[in-house]
Point group: C2
């Protein structure tokens, strides 16, 4: 018999062949064990604690040799980062005999605080599905015709609807006769008239006059978060918003990890497709309950997502998106039955609209941003940046719009950061550093107080202070630069150089201690030299993408910048400027668009013409491929310095009396090259 594997605290158990990695066993059992890299031994988020000895409760005795021997990957990780005593890496340790495995809290995937929120925006209401009340002629034996055919005549005569190509699902057809008789030859139908559908479709039928309303879901299917808005299809009101984590995270945090998972695990795409569809069904149930409606009243759903999410939602193997030439299976918009996506929670005849993709790296989410922010209608030159795990960048005006995607990686989201964590309660999300004393103050998610405020300790005790999230690390790095703790090349100064004991040595480099909870058994939260490098890489990629589009358009400046996504909502433009994440632009010309992709989805949900419009727009957007463009690499290297751009730098230096230290003779190189090139 195969060895028995028991996970605590969940109690989930199962038998697995000798040699099965613990992470694989956890996934198959649905155990909440984190993994950022998809089991490739890179992220070390899947740490577990094996237990040995006799467990009468579980009925097993665990031998010392129940897991495979410590391997070179674990060895290296322990040398470089240190692995707590008793810990193993779940993706490296394999099952040898019966074993009890504990998943420590920090290895569990927490339910994230979903921060995408609906923004208020006027949308002209013209949804694809509307209710029509019709009075239908009674059947006549002498001129026989079907009830459906008489309903079609009534729709045509009473509502001037072209019913020559009326369609309806068989389960809806089976409702017709009872509804007509119960309603005394009057019914209300939900009729779908798609902008690119040559058929009119009856999605549902009610006897007599139906008092209820129809609803639609606008879903922003992100790599990390699935956010939905439930909209009243009569007036566009958002009656409820809800979000869940994308359960695909357990197969790999970033897109390429998920593509790799499919490459290494045949059928892995179907696993991920099933997981995301199930999560959407759950979300639909929850949001219906929150909105106080029946899930069957949801008759429309619009999705926006990046190409990998797009393919995995549709059940298409995404491997082609992981390699040049990054070919999409299909790029056009899609109109289909919710049933085809297994969305059984909502009305069984509901329709789905998925916005078109722009290219293999620039998805329907970018199209939705374009629909929401309309760069193609802008009089002045606008740069739109939407940061998730990848950054989607749009640049243009009414004459021409360019787009690209830049692989910023997950650093902006708190991943690949030493004390990094997701934006969950307990995470440091705001940081300020006094330029004189070099002392920090911060805010944690779950409290409105600054760490310098009275009562903060009590407030923070509720959640604990557990790590630093994406917005926190960006602010921390920018503030460190502004306070002179980091030079233009990104090098952290020593305690001597900076004059603050918060600088502690870390190998040959230094770290800045934001919070030391070790006295109470808590974490030491610091910004390491590695963290600075990770942020530098991410912001360089973002900046290089924007610069590439500017080169393509032959411009050196933009008139305004729109920050969208989590970036726009939670990262202050000031700190983005200090870091040099975005090109030169007057600070007052930098605005936040909130969740522009979600807004685009809502527009497409409420307005059929908008669907046709974005399909047309997408064909006019010129895609620039960063992966094969030598200048991208050039810009990337040049953008390494903090800050690289002179205008906001000067501006901010004036504002905060910014010193400009240099701790290393080589650190200014990037900046220097940048200036030379532009001069």
């Amino acid at each position: 018999m195969d060895p028995l594997v028991i996970f605590t605290p969940s109690g989930k158990r199962g038998r697995f062949p000798v040699g099965t990695p613990v992470l694989t066993a956890a996934r198959q059992l649905g155990v909440d064990l984190d993994s950022v890299c998809g089991g490739r031994g890179i992220c070390s988020k899947c740490q577990i604690t094996p237990s040995y000895g006799e467990f009468s409760k579980h009925g097993v005795t665990v031998a010392d040799t129940a897991l495979s021997e410590w391997n070179s990957v674990e060895d290296r990780y322990d040398r470089v980062r240190g692995l707590k005593k008793g810990r193993r890496l779940g993706c490296q340790a394999t099952v040898q005999s019966d074993i009890v495995i504990d998943v420590p809290p920090e290895s569990q995937v927490h339910k994230q605080v979903v921060r995408k929120a609906a923004t208020v925006r006027d949308i002209t209401m013209d949804p694809a599905t509307r209710l029509y009340y019709v009075e239908v002629a009674e059947p006549d034996m002498h001129t026989p015709s079907g009830d459906l055919e008489r309903l079609a005549v009534a729709l045509s005569e009473q509502w001037q609807i072209d019913t020559a190509n009326l369609r309806l699902d068989l389960p809806v057809l089976s409702k017709l006769q009872p509804a007509l008789r119960k309603g005394q030859w009057a019914v209300t139908v939900a009729l779908h008239q798609g902008h690119n559908d040559r058929h009119e479709r009856i999605l549902d039928i009610w006897p007599g006059y139906f008092e209820g309303r129809l609803y639609g879901l606008a879903i922003d299917l992100g790599s990390t978060t699935i956010a939905a808005h439930l909209c009243d299809l009569r007036n566009g009101d958002v009656v409820a918003s809800a979000g869940v984590m994308n359960p695909q995270i357990r197969f790999g945090e970033d897109l390429m990890s998920r593509v790799s998972y499919v490459m290494m695990n045949p059928g892995g795409d179907a696993e991920m497709t099933g997981a995301v569809r199930e999560a959407i069904n759950t979300l639909a149930f929850e949001i219906s309950a929150e909105g106080g409606i029946e899930p069957a009243q949801i008759v429309e759903t619009v999705f926006v997502c990046n190409p990998v999410m797009h393919h995995l939602l549709l059940g298409i193997d995404p491997v082609e998106l992981g390699q040049a030439p990054f070919a999409l299976a299909t790029s056009d918009s899609m109109s289909l039955d919710a049933r085809e996506l297994g969305l059984t929670a909502i009305n069984p005849a509901a329709r789905v609209y998925i916005l078109p993709c722009i290219a293999g790296h620039v998805g329907a989410d970018c199209a939705a941003v374009a629909l929401s922010e309309e760069p193609n209608k802008s009089e002045d030159l606008v740069l739109i940046v939407d940061v998730g795990t990848n950054a989607e960048i749009l640049l243009g005006d009414k004459r021409r719009v360019l787009a690209c995607s830049s692989p910023t990686g997950p650093a902006f989201e708190g991943a690949q950061i030493s004390s990094g964590q997701r934006a969950a309660p307990g995470a440091i999300e705001r940081v300020e550093i006094d330029p004189v004393t070099k002392e920090p103050r911060f805010k944690v998610i779950g409290s409105d107080l600054w760490s310098s405020d009275d009562g903060f300790a009590e407030a923070a005790a509720v959640t604990g202070i557990t790590g630093i999230c994406g917005s926190g690390i960006i602010e921390a790095v920018a503030e460190m630069r502004a306070a002179g703790l980091v030079d233009a090349g990104g090098l952290i100064g020593s305690a001597e150089q900076t004059g603050t004991p918060r600088m502690i040595p870390e190998g040959r480099t230094h770290s800045y201690v934001l919070f030391d909870g070790t006295a109470d058994g808590g974490p030491l939260i610091s910004v390491t030299q590695g963290d600075i490098r990770a942020i530098q890489l991410a912001k360089s990629a973002l900046y290089a993408g924007a610069r590439l589009l500017m080169d393509e358009l032959g411009v050196d400046t933009v008139d305004r910048v729109v920050l969208a996504g989590a970036f726009g909502a939670h990262i202050s433009p000031k700190h983005a400027m200090i870091l040099g994440m975005i090109p030169d632009c007057p600070l007052e010309k930098v605005t936040s668009a909130g969740n522009a992709a979600g807004t685009g989805a809502r527009i497409a949900l409420c307005n059929r013409a908008a669907r046709a419009e974005i399909e047309e727009t997408v064909h006019q957007i010129h895609k620039v491929e960063t992966a094969i463009e030598p200048r991208f690499q050039e810009h990337f290297v040049a953008a390494n310095a903090i800050p690289h751009a002179t205008a906001p730098f000067r501006l901010l230096r004036a504002l905060v009396d910014l010193p400009n230290p240099s701790f290393n003779a080589n650190s200014g190189d990037g900046d220097g090259r940048r200036r030379r090139r532009r001069g």
Copy 2:
């Protein structure tokens, strides 16, 4: 605990609440127990033999009181027809405690010999689905587009196909990328272009050039039999034919029994829908094996059926068809995905076309006969009669076509006949009676010999001689009339009146013994007065329907008669004439069309224009409703006599030197009235 019910010989068992009829228990367990009337105590085909005592093998002891007491229905049946010792009626006896029940062979539903066969007919090939080989441009990172979009361009450029509204199911889309790469940027697609579909649909994709062929199924979904022809969609060749019994028979033999079953059993429609869909899947597997093809090569299916079968196939409650005004849920043709009908055996993306219904009693099967026989294009006045459990009747020429349905009942199919059985091995199917000696000779299904031929006894020993089927009883009655054994009123003469000892008394009437096997423990097969009455009722209904249409058209004769269905294939026109089943017409103008409905289905399968044509034709056919027409009743009564019509009667009398006895002063009335009316 509920009583345990064990059926033998199947061994099927289950627990049922006290009071459950044995027939109900048998159905729920899927036990092969016949029922013609759907459990209404009419047909007495559900006879069972309860066993009492101790059954160690089954682990039960059966009390004397395990079934309910003998009831009045069983009492009456025993008095009138005689119930074998130990037998009970399964629909009347109810379960009281643990019981072992034997289903005797004659109560089991035998696998019928399917006699519908494809007739040879030229059909212009223009199927909705064709194969197209296309070479697709490779993806280009600099001008990104989806693989599907480039395939659409290739189809448009290389085949001049309008791909503006190309659709494909997600599972087909997921095949595209691997197929393109495996086929080195060439694929073969199965493209469906429906005659009334505004979308082009890709049903399947193969890498490179696909060597195989596409096939379609033409399915004649009858109340009793489901017959299918597997056709090569390139040349229309029928590569295999197969048939199965319609499993809905266990819910009631005739249509109204099935409608009653739904009325009395909520959810009964879903049960019947599931049963017929499962049978069609099985049939599709079998016919694919017979044709030596993969079921996935079947990409099209056409159905013809009566309205009740139509609704039950679609999953629509048929109750409205059981009561005036007989309203169909939908009358138009239907184009849908095979998936919607649960037809999972064939290609998952296969399309289904269902011919339109003419009215609540005149279905897509009648439309298929019209498509095959084209009365609307006839120069002379043609009467087309398609007999199943209901008769579909078409009358007209190129100026006008009328249609009606007549409730002939199942007598023509051997049901409601004392020695009747389905057309299965052992059934008497042909009968001749010597007009001088009054001695019969006959043929049984399974042997080519007449009973008067040498070697017949040995040949018949293989199957036994078990009963008489539909064509047998019709010939027997006609021959009895021709031999002077029955008078014009339908009364059977006594042994004295007819001079043959084969006449035996049966109450106050007489029976004619066709075969007496009682000496060897076999059956006594006779034609009773009740049998003659049943045939008289059936033929009167058929004749009255035809006459009603003739009245409507203002004609007294027709130029020609086409016999279709089982009727046309197995009943000789001569005997139909003698019986007076059809109106006056020169014998040489009576032709058989074979399975015209099946032929119509094949035409619609192979030719898209034919679909549009029959949809147009159906709107021009004028439906006459027999159920509410007083003249139908009048014709029905008038048509009771054998024969009622003078012309063939005289003709045949001349041919066979027919005597014209009258055994009863009243018996000639019908005939007399008929003659008076026409004179």
